[in-house]
Structures are given as structure tokens and as C-alpha cells.
């Protein structure tokens, strides 16, 4: 460690992340422990893949994950992660992955809640927060080191007044931070007014922007802001190449 009062990093699972945030003593990269991070950028630049990778790497290290899908359903989450050979089935079975699905109520199929799979509705933030409360407790009891993903704010913005989405985000980040978790929230740049976008950035501890070629650290606690190129491969995001 060496330096005092620096928040330790947790590995994101994204190769080359040290090009974005680096512990100068160990050379390792990661996001500061127990902080919240916003990943934003134009549509389809790999923000969700970032989330899958962050979640999956945590699961590999026995860190449970509270995952909120607000842009797609559980079925898509399983399909899309499988495209990268990340299989969630085992983690669902051993209750390391807790999913709050805010969209599948629109799918027309009647789905059932389980211990670690909760349905909610994207236009009912009160119910969403009830599930976040239950989910946080569940993963916290599994391990005090856990991760959480909120992917993404885009659809919530289409279904709720902007200000309400901001309120929900505040309540969510507070809940995760108090429980000691690290959270990633994604947002599609340009889908809301600029003042709302800057409010989003204020709520979180770290801000990363992905633009399809470059990933840059716009805000981070305790570490230097860096930027680097990245690409998306069949193994996920790779930073610092090319």
C-alpha cells in the first residue's frame, strides 16, 4: 500500500483497467472500494458489457452481486453474457446473483419471483426501492464485500419524470454505500437534458465516459484521471490496446 488514506481498489475484471485508474504502488487497476461509479456515453459503446464484466469478475471472486436490469429483462441478461462465455446459471442457483428485473413485466409472460429474482416495474420506483432494500440485505449477508449494477437509467427516464429518477438514484447509491458495496450505474449520454446529466455526475463518486474508442476517467476519488483506448472483443472489453 504505502500511501495513507487512499481508498483501496477493487478489480473490475476488465483487462487493462490500470490504464484508467492505477494504484501507483502495485501497478494494479480497479475502482475505489465502496464507491459509486457512473459510466456514460453514446448508445452501443459497450456500457452494458462493462457491467457484465464487473459483475462476473466479482462472482468469480465470491463477491455477490445485486443487479438491476432496467433496459432489458433477465432473459436478455443471460443471453448477452453467454455471448462472452459468462454463464450465470450457477451463480443464480447458489444465490450469489440477485437480480431485480424492472422490464420483464412488459414481456407478456407471467414470471415468478424467487429468493434472488424479483420483478418490479420501471414506473414504480417505490417498489423498486423496496426490492433494492431486500436485495442489499440479501447480498450483504452473503458477503460484506459485494457489487451492484444498475443498467441503465435510459428506460427509467422514459417512464418517469427526470427529477424522480435522480431521487431514486440518490436513494440507491446511498443504500449500496452504507452496506459497503461498490456500484456501477450506466447512462446514455444525450438522452436527457444537460442539467440532469450533470446532476447525475454529482451524485456518484466516479465518472467514466466511453465513446466507442476511448474510455476516460472524468471524476474519481483519490486517484489520477486518465484515459485510454479500448475495444470490444469476444472476451469483453479490453483497455489499452491498439
Amino acid at each position: 500500500m504505502g500511501r495513507d488514506n487512499v481508498i483501496p481498489l477493487i478489480e473490475t475484471g476488465i483487462p487493462g483497467f490500470e490504464n484508467i485508474i492505477q494504484d501507483e504502488d502495485t501497478g494494479m487497476g480497479g475502482v475505489p472500494e465502496n464507491t459509486t461509479s457512473l459510466i456514460y456515453g453514446p448508445p452501443n459503446v459497450g456500457k452494458s458489457i462493462f457491467c457484465y464484466q464487473f459483475m462476473y469478475n466479482g462472482l468469480l471472486k465470491n463477491e455477490p452481486c445485486l443487479y438491476i436490469t432496467a433496459d432489458y429483462g433477465m432473459k436478455q441478461l443471460e443471453q448477452r453474457t453467454m455471448d462472452f462465455d459468462w454463464f450465470l446459471q450457477n451463480y443464480t442457483t447458489n444465490e450469489m446473483l440477485y437480480v431485480i428485473d424492472a422490464l420483464s413485466n412488459f414481456s407478456g409472460a407471467k414470471k415468478q419471483d424467487t429468493n434472488t429474482y424479483k420483478l418490479t416495474a420501471v414506473h414504480n420506483p417505490t417498489d423498486l426501492m423496496v426490492k433494492v432494500g431486500l436485495g442489499t440485505r440479501f447480498v450483504f449477508q452473503k458477503s460484506q464485500k459485494f457489487r451492484s449494477v444498475f443498467d441503465s437509467l435510459t428506460i427509467p427516464f422514459a417512464f418517469n419524470p427526470d427529477k424522480l429518477v435522480i431521487r431514486v438514484l440518490k436513494a440507491y447509491t446511498k443504500r449500496i454505500k452504507e452496506a459497503g458495496g461498490a456500484a456501477i450505474i450506466t447512462h446514455t449520454e444525450g438522452s436527457v437534458d444537460e442539467n440532469i446529466e450533470s446532476l447525475l455526475k454529482d451524485i456518484v463518486d466516479n465518472v467514466f465516459r466511453m465513446d466507442g474508442n476511448k474510455i476516460s476517467t472524468e471524476k474519481v476519488v483519490d486517484y489520477k484521471k486518465l484515459e485510454s483506448r479500448y475495444k470490444i472483443t469476444d472476451k469483453g472489453i479490453l483497455i489499452g490496446m491498439g
Partner: protein, 391 residues
Amino acid sequence: MKKTHIPKLDDLLGGGVPAGSSIMFCANPGVDCEAFGYQMLNGLVKEGERGFIFTNVAEPDSIIYEFDSYGWDIVSAIENENVFFVDGSSSFIGAPSNAKYSFTDYSETEDVVLKAINDIPDGIAVINNLSTIIDYMGDLETVEIVKKWNKAAKENNTTIIYIFTEWDYEDSMVKKLKSSVDCVVELKTIEERVIVGQGFMVAGASWTEPLDTMILFFVIQPGGVKVYIPKILVTGPYNAGKSSFVKAISTKSVSVDRKAVGAFPTTIAMDIGHLDYKGFFADIFGTPGQERFDLILDVLSKEAVGAFIIIDSTAPQTFARAKEMIRKTRAEAIPKIIVANKQDLEGALSPDEIRDKMKLSKDIPIVPAVITEGKGTQECLDALLKLLYGD
């Protein structure tokens, strides 16, 4: 008076809610507050009242489904036209609605609800959720709307129930909203890093001086809102003074020794007590200290909301065992107090020395005590209540 059909709430309100008044369930984000409105409506409809549900957060079909999962029959009341929906949700997501009233624009909310109130004189109106209206209509506008609804409700003798999720609004707006209704019931989360429980408390009622008590509750399906009698765990190494502690804090306690208690083996000595202290009541469970009983620690500790860890201040060699028991009873995740017992004996370590030896974080209180003389026990209770409810 109309009954609220929420257990214990009628007692706090002096018997119920006078017809024509307004009551607001005001919830911290994370509290299951919708059940309160639905349960009250369900109970009153069963008594023959009429009512409606205004919704802007769920389609009528999903609310019917929710009633069903609580085990409440709302369908026949809808068929008999005793209950109807004011649907501010379906058209919003492009879903069809067969509600009595539905609307497509938020600006219609005020008028449509007024119409609905006029339809059910002496009935029950449930508004779920007030917070979604606020960010569409504006702070002051919403306060005005609530006032108009309350006025209409009073004239019609309609009882109006608001579900309000208290996100981070301006204090002044929240104050105005709360002061425009006859009764405010606060629904709070009880937290220790995560939500460990939920409680309700009457913050004010225009017709009575409400009892100042927090009632812990949980919501189950089927069933609805149930009062929760919290379990407090008393644990610690063998011979640290657990039995005496349970006795000391209990209004009545039983030591169960070599007697059959439900599912537990007959050879286990355990202490059960009941605490009633400053309006807080709880069941107390003492766990056995010997390692051979560790297997049942998990069972005993399920659902505990707080824990006292009793240690013998003169026996540092047992501290590792105490820490192990914290882990085994999952007390890491709940509020806990370390009771540093036997402070009167020679060689007793001070709380600071204990904290150091046990490597405990600063936010876990260590209270010095001599349980056999009743010294420190009250301080222990106060410390735990402070952790559970804040100051």
C-alpha cells in the same frame, strides 16, 4: 370511526380514523408502503364500504394480482361496483384500460380524482402514489391539489388515504404536504448498514393525541401488514453471564433447562425473556455458549434485529470465542452491543483494552457492566435502542 385494519394502528389512533378525514402513509424509500393503503381499503370494503384506488405506478391488473397475492378478494368488489380504479398508469405505457376512469395526461389527475371522490360519499379513496404526481405537477401545485381533494373528501365524508414515498424533497414542501392532511403515519426503515427492519409510528392526528410508539412490522404474502415482535439475541462464551443478563433485562423470563422447547433438543439450556422498555418490546433469546451447540446458533439467530454479546472482562482467552459467536449468529449484520461483564472483579479489562484485544471497530459500543448487581444493564438497553432507532 373507521378502522384502519392495520394491527396496532387503531390503538395508536384512539380507535381508528374519523370518516371524511385524510391520512398519509409517509414512507422512507425502501419501505413496503403500498400494502398499508391496500390493506385498509380491503378491510373496509369487507365491512361493506365503497372505494377506489387511484394509481399512477401500476396497472389495475397488477394491483388486482397484488391483492390476490395478499389473499384479499378485490375482484368481487369490483364486479359489484363497490370498488373501482382511477387509472393513471395504463395509457401512460400504452396498455389498454377498462377502469372506470382513465386519463392520458397528468394535468387531468386533479379533476378525475375529484370526480371519483364525489362518486363514493362515505367511502374510501386510496391515492398511490403521491410522489409521482409531485415531479410531474410541481411542489406547490401538488400541495394545492391535495388540499382540494381533502376538502372534497371532507364534504363527501370520504376517507382519503395517501401513499407517499418520501424521496429527497425540499423540507418545506414535505412539511406543507404533511400539514395539509389530518393524520401522518411515518413508515421508517431500521438500518444497520442494511435495512434490518421496518417500523411505523403516528406522527400526528388532528382528532387525538397519538401514542408515541414505534411498531415494528413486516409485510407478507399472503397476509399483508403484520406486527413484528423483534428478537434480541443474547450471546457470548460459556459462563460470561448470559442467563443473568436475560433475567436482568426481562420483565419476565424463563430459563428452559432440560425441557422440550419446540424443535430444539431437550438437553439445551436456553433463556427466553420478554423486554418492555421505553415503549419498545421484544423477545429475548439467550443462546447456549458451548461449542457443541453451535449448530443451532444459526436457527436461533434468524430474524434477530439486535444482539448483546456478553463477555467476561477478566477472561481475554475467551474473546476469540466471542468473536466466533458473533460470526456464527450472523450478528455482524445487525446492531450489537458488547457487554463487558464482571467489571467488579480483579483483572477486569477496560472497554478500551477489550476493543483493542478484540479488534472491534469504533462504532460497536462496549458497555461496562456488573450484571449480577444490575449495573450497566440499562445503559446496554439504551445503547441498543440508540443504534436501532437513532437518537
